[in-house]
Every structure is written in structure tokens, then in C-alpha cells.
Amino acid sequence: MRPTASRLLNILVPVKRTIDYAVKIRVNPDQKGVDLSVKHSMNPFDEIAVEEAVRLRKKLKDAVKSIKVVTIGPSKSTETLRTALAMGADSGIHVEISDSAPPPEPLGVAKVLRAVIEKQKESGGIDLVILGKQAIDDDQGQTGQMLAGLLDWPQATFASKLVVNAEKREANITREIDGGLQELKCKLPLVVTTDLRFHVLNAHILPSEPHYASLPNIMKAKKKPIEKFTPADLGIDLTPRIETVKISEPPKRVGGGKVENVDELIAKLKEAGITAVKA
């Protein structure tokens, strides 16, 4: 029996173009930013989110009506959307900012995403937002939570397992928390942020290593539609509210030293100003 229209799911996956995780970061001389003229690629947590959406479709088949990917970034971010499309997403939305604009902050991003989701109501709405738990450039980890708050939707963050029941419009999520795992049951529409362990548990492949994009998919991806907006089109002002005062590298590790015996160790500890705890 074909699922009825009200039970078809539209999934939205926000992705971010970040400096590739393998690149060595160099702080700029002005200490306000880092060298950006290096290799960029999709935020690894977002790769997991895209992969998870594609896997959900494999499982739920026709119940997943569409997988849309959205990004907020300069013109080069289109490449990131194309990668997501090659991985199996259906269409993309590029909220384009100028190349020289400051990187958007989580609250700004969440507001843009809410505006995008509002717009999507015209074509069936969004039932599930899956995004990475944090971006590896700023490590903020706030966007998913803020978005859920703005939308007044339930949220399941740091998820490592997601099971969706399209008929009942419910999802069971396992969350990674300090000390173990937490299981939640949520109603759709829902915001989920992905943790690394998604892959270990679900796909028997290494964390943060989605499938290679095969050529036919890459060719197909070129023809998939990408809608373009500016933040102004959506009525959002992305002016930063936070000022970066200073960025610096962690202090260089100073070499250690070897001591010959316990007496020397005690002497060196005393020198360093470390005193014994009173028994």
C-alpha cells in the first residue's frame, strides 16, 4: 500500500563548507583569523548527516519524498552542495553571502534555516532536519539546538542511532551522553544532530567516512536543481553580534626532561613550585 501524502517525509540537511580536517591550521599575523587559502571540504559531521538521510531513504523507500540540502556560504559553497547531491540528495538550496562577508554565527544560521523551512511549507513542508552536531571550524555546536528552539520543535542532539516510523510520524533516537547512551522517542517534525558514532553502529564503516561518490551520481548531481537566495531575500540580517577579539595558537609544547632518581625528581618538583600535599 502506497504511503498517503501526509505520511511522506521531507528531509532537510543543512551542510557547511569548512577547512578540510586534515589541513594544518595557521593563524593569521593579525591574530583575528586563520589562513583560509587552503583546502576546504564538507564538515565531516554534516557528511554523516547527508549519509544518514540517504540511508533513511534506502530503508523507508517511498516514504521519503525528498532530501534537500541547504548551505549558507560564499559562491564556492555550491561545490559542497554538489557533493551532497552526488551522495544522494535530490535538490539544493544555496543561501549565498559575499566572499568577503564574515562567517555567519549559529543564531544567524538558525534564523536562516527557519526562514528556509517556512518557505518550504509551500511545497509540503519539512518533517525532519538532520545536521552535524558541530562544525569543525568553530566547534560551536549550537545551530541545531537554536533551530529547534526557534521552530518550537523537539530536538535529539548527539544522535548515534535514528529509527523513523513514517506511518506514526515518530522517531526513536539514541543519544551519546557522558556516561553512556540515552534513548528518546520524539514526534515529527524533529531536529536531529549527528554524532560520529552513527557510522560505526549503522554502516560497519569507519566514522566520518561516507561512501565514495561514484561517477554516474556525480554526473547526475550536476543536473539536480539548486535554488539560490540571499539572506536579504529571506529577511534575515547576518551581521555578527559577536566580535572575535583574538585568535592564537596553543602554546608550543616544551620538551620534558629525564631524571636519574627520586631525589632528583623531588628537587625538580620543588623547583617548579610544586609542594607536597599535607597527609
Binding site: 578540510d20 565514495y212 561514484s214
Partner: protein
């Protein structure tokens, strides 16, 4: 390691070749290292540079095993003494002494050679360059790097990376092989297609001659036509004419836009037209074109080399080709090279008679490395699977599969294609250079398998007027096969040159020349 010991015992059975060789070496009347020699070496070198099972040093013989055994675990020397000098002067002193005493020397770099050229035949002295590992200078304007011979290739690459330069050669052994050894063997590798051979990129050498004289031709000049180009003799001489102690080499600007793709081909026949198409459409940005047959790929995946392609992409593929493109380092070069590559891939997929089934294009630096890991890990995968008879040959591009299949059929006709004899016959290699690495993977090295393969493979290569050693060199393994690719006049001249440089015959005796 149990299997190593087992193989050791089996391999120690002398082959007919080894017996012949022992005779010819004794004809050279070389002397064995004795305690007085070791005492002398201990005086001119620091303690840490002398390893010897002889008194007064008395190192455990197990410590010398890595110097006495080659990478494939096929050749086992019986040297009692390994010296690890730190300076060119020390190398010169050692060679001077050995010249007087007529002691055979095996110069050794990373010991990653595949033709038994870097380990002793008998008990020759091993002179390891491993302690000479300093970078002497680098000029970022000209790109000329001067380094000690013992510098590991990967370390040199890492040094050059922040300077936005790369070494003009790259090979799977990069983590262990040393630049001196690379030059002595005229190593080819994965980048030769784009950057040419060491005969072109090496600008100067510092060599210790067989009588201990230091020949300093460590020039940093790009162009210098003054007299005979002696360094060309040492490049590829495999340590038989001199010991390389310093190298001056021209490095290349690092390409910024590097991409790679592994293409799955339904039939081997498509490799040649694919190469033509790739050359035509990619032209100057084509930097590597490597062939991997289906069995080799399966072995790489089995032994965890790199990350496997998706199941659907691999179905029906008879072989794979890895194509790498490297653009320049300006922004529009990146866009230009991606569009050239995409253009090629589109035309391949949409052709009436597609040359490829599908392919996998790297989407990030991590995936780029993973795709290369599959190709670079083949040698290791083969070694893990069994004992490999390696034939590194140059033959016409279109004949690769024929040679692999013919060899397999020949072994089958001898009843040797069985789990306890020959497990697999695989082919992979630098197809863009016409260079095939034919690997016959056996359960153990046996005289029976060897007799079935040689001279069969060499005669097969001869039929195609190919080379019995495209890049691996002659070493100990192919001295008797030299005549398949070089005529008597050439070999005679080589012997005369050897005699001129090394009248006492002390440098790497038994190697290269029959």
C-alpha cells in the same frame, strides 16, 4: 615471526644460480672481514656506528638480520659487520680501508629494493647510509634541494611541503627508501609520467669512489655542459661504481589542484584507448595513470590497503585505472583542471561505446589519499598474501593483459596453479610508462616455480622487445637476464667501465653485471 623463519629455511636451499655466483665471487678473491678490521673501524667510527658479531664489538647476530635480509624476504646475506657512518669523510675512510684489504662492500639505503641488490651475497661488509640524513640546503627560488644520501624520501617531501614544492619522484616505499638509493637505482615511481626520470632531475652528486676518493660534483646549477656528465654513470649503477653520499636534485612547484579518480573498466582492451583519451583531454595536467588488474584490487582490499570502492562500482570490472591530475597553484588553475577532468569523465560515460563502467572521484583530501592507498598498498598486499616473484617489465601498453594471462596459463600447464604452489598471478603498474609489475604469488619460494618462470618470462618479454627490468634494476636477481635486453657489445663496455672504476671489484660484488 613464524612464517619468516620457515621461509628462511626454505630459501636457504642454494639455487643453481647461487652456487655459480659463489664460484665467480671467490674468483674475485675478496677477503672476509676479520677482528682487526672491526678494531680499525671501531677506531675511526663512534661506537653506535659499528655493529659486528665479531669481537671486540660482539653484537647479537639477530640485530644484523634486518641488514642481511631484503624486503621480500627472498635474499639472505651472511654479513658479520654493518657500519653506519655519519659523514662523507667517514664513508671515504671505510672504503679506503676496504680497498686496501680487498673487502667487499654492499652500500645500503632503505633496503626496500626488490631485486636483492641491497643485501650481501655472502659476508660482504654492509655500509648503511641511514645515519647520513641531513638536508644540506634548499633554494626556494630555483627549487634545488641538496641532501645527504640517507634522507628518507618521505622526510624530504615533508620538508618541502611548507615551501610549496614536491620531490620529482614518489613511490610506495617512500616511508623507508632513501634518496641515495633512489638515485643509485634510478627509481621510477608514480610521478615519472609527469616529472621525468632521475637522469633529468638530479643536478649533481657527491660520490665516494671504490678507492675512497671523494668525487664532489654536488653542483646546484640547472645547466652545466662542461665535459662528460659523469653523474649519469652513477645514476642507476646500483652501488657498483661508487657510493652516493650527497644528492642535488631539482624539485617541482607543488600543484595545488590535485584530484584523482579510479575508473572501472569492463575489459582490459579499453586501457589503451582510455590512455589516449586521457592524454588528449587532460594534456598537461595528467600526472599519473596507473593500472590495477581485478585480482590485484581484490587482494589490496582483502589486506586492508586503502578503502574499498562501493560494491556496485566494482561489479563487472575486469581492471581499474587510477588517473591523477595536478593543476598549477593559482585559483583559476583549480577550476580549470576540475573542468578538464569532469569533461573527460562526462565524455567517457556518455560515449556510444563507453570505455568505462563507472568510476569514483575523490571529493576531499582524505578520499584522494584513500584512492592512492589502494594502488600504493598493492606491493604490501602481495607480500602479505604470499611469496612474490616479481617481474618489473617494459612492454607495449596493449600487451599487458596478454603477458599476465600467458604467464598464468604457462604455470597452469605445469600444474603449478594450486593453493600450495602458485596462488595468484596479478598485474599492476605504471601503464602510462609502459611498465607492468607482474607478480606471481606463491605459497613459498621453490626451485620448481622458479624454473617454470625463468627464463619463460624473460623470453616472453624478449619477444616483445621489452625490458626485463623497467625500473627495479638488476641487483642480484637479474644478472643472468641482462642479455635479454642489452646486447654483448653493451655488456662488454659496462664490464670495462666497472673495471676502470673498481679494479679490485669491492663495490657490491655479484650485482648488475653477469
Amino acid at each position: 615471526m613464524l612464517s619468516r623463519h620457515l621461509a628462511h629455511r626454505i630459501a636457504l636451499r642454494p639455487t643453481a644460480k647461487a652456487v655459480r655466483l659463489a664460484h665467480s665471487l671467490s674468483a674475485l678473491r675478496l677477503n672476509t672481514v676479520n677482528e682487526q678490521d672491526v678494531e680499525h673501524f671501531s677506531k675511526i667510527l663512534p661506537k653506535t656506528s659499528v655493529l659486528s658479531t665479531l669481537a671486540p664489538v660482539s653484537t647479537a647476530s639477530s640485530e644484523l638480520e634486518i641488514y642481511n635480509t631484503d624486503w621480500i624476504n627472498k635474499y639472505h646475506g651472511k654479513s658479520t659487520t654493518v657500519l653506519r657512518p655519519r659523514t662523507t669523510k667517514e664513508v671515504s675512510e671505510i672504503v679506503k680501508w676496504c680497498h686496501e684489504r680487498r673487502i667487499g662492500i654492499v652500500p645500503q639505503g632503505g633496503n626496500t629494493g626488490l631485486v636483492g641488490g641491497s643485501v650481501p651475497v655472502n659476508d660482504e661488509l654492509v655500509l648503511s647510509l641511514g645515519n647520513m640524513n641531513k638536508i644540506r640546503s634548499f633554494d626556494p627560488v630555483s627549487g634545488i634541494l641538496v641532501a645527504d644520501a640517507g634522507c628518507i624520501l618521505e622526510s624530504l617531501s615533508e620538508y618541502l611541503a611548507p615551501e610549496n614544492h614536491i620531490m620529482p619522484l614518489d613511490l610506495g616505499a617512500k616511508g623507508s627508501c632513501q634518496i641515495g638509493g633512489n638515485v643509485a637505482t634510478n627509481a621510477g615511481g608514480l610521478r615519472l609520467l609527469r616529472y621525468g626520470s632521475l637522469h633529468g632531475s638530479v643536478l649533481g652528486l657527491e660520490v665516494v669512489l671504490p678507492d675512497g676518493t671523494i668525487l664532489d660534483q654536488l653542483s646546484v646549477l640547472r645547466k652545466d655542459n662542461t665535459g662528460y656528465d659523469l653523474k649519469q654513470l652513477f645514476i642507476g649503477s646500483e652501488g657498483t661504481l661508487g657510493i652516493i653520499t650527497g644528492v642535488s636534485i631539482l624539485t617541482a612547484p607543488a600543484p595545488n589542484a590535485s584530484n584523482n579518480v579510479i575508473l572501472a573498466l569492463p575489459s582490459f582492451d579499453n586501457v589503451k584507448p582510455l590512455y589516449q583519451e586521457a592524454k588528449r583531454q587532460l594534456s598537461e595536467i595528467l600526472s599519473a595513470f596507473e593500472f590495477i588488474d581485478r585480482t590485484a584490487y581484490d587482494l589490496a582490499v582483502k589486506h586492508g590497503q586503502g578503502r574499498a570502492l562501493n560494491e556496485e562500482d566494482v561489479e563487472g570490472a575486469e581492471c581499474f585505472v587510477l588517473v591523477e591530475t595536478s593543476g598549477g597553484n593559482r585559483e583559476h588553475d583549480e577550476a580549470a583542471s576540475i573542468s578538464k577532468l569532469n569533461g573527460l569523465l562526462e565524455s567517457l560515460l556518455e560515449a556510444d561505446q563507453p570505455l568505462i563502467n563507472t568510476g569514483v572521484l575523490s571529493q576531499s583530501p582524505a578520499q584522494f589519499a584513500q584512492l592512492w592507498a589502494i594502488r600504493e598498498g598493492l606491493t604490501e598486499a602481495v607480500s602479505k598474501e604470499g611469496k612474490a616473484y616479481k617481474y618489473d617489465i617494459s612492454i607495449p601498453l596493449g600487451s599487458f593483459q596478454e603477458v599476465v594471462d600467458t604467464t598464468r596459463e604457462h604455470l597452469r600447464s605445469k600444474g603449478l596453479m594450486r593453493d600450495d604452489a602458485v596462488k595468484y598471478v596479478v598485474g599492476y603498474g605504471h601503464v602510462g610508462d609502459g611498465n607492468l609489475h607482474l607478480n606471481v604469488i606463491a605459497a613459498a619460494f621453490t626451485p620448481e616455480i622458479e624454473a617454470a618462470l625463468e627464463p619463460f618470462v624473460y623470453e616472453l618479454v624478449s619477444k616483445y622487445k621489452g625490458s626485463v627490468s623497467a625500473e627495479h634494476g638488476i641487483g642480484l636477481m637479474k644478472t643472468h637476464a641482462l642479455h635479454y635486453s642489452k646486447n654483448a657489445t653493451s655488456i662488454e663496455l659496462m664490464k670495462r667501465i666497472k673495471n676502470l672504476f673498481d679494479p679490485h671489484g669491492i663495490l657490491n660484488p655479484g650485482k648488475v653485471l653477469p
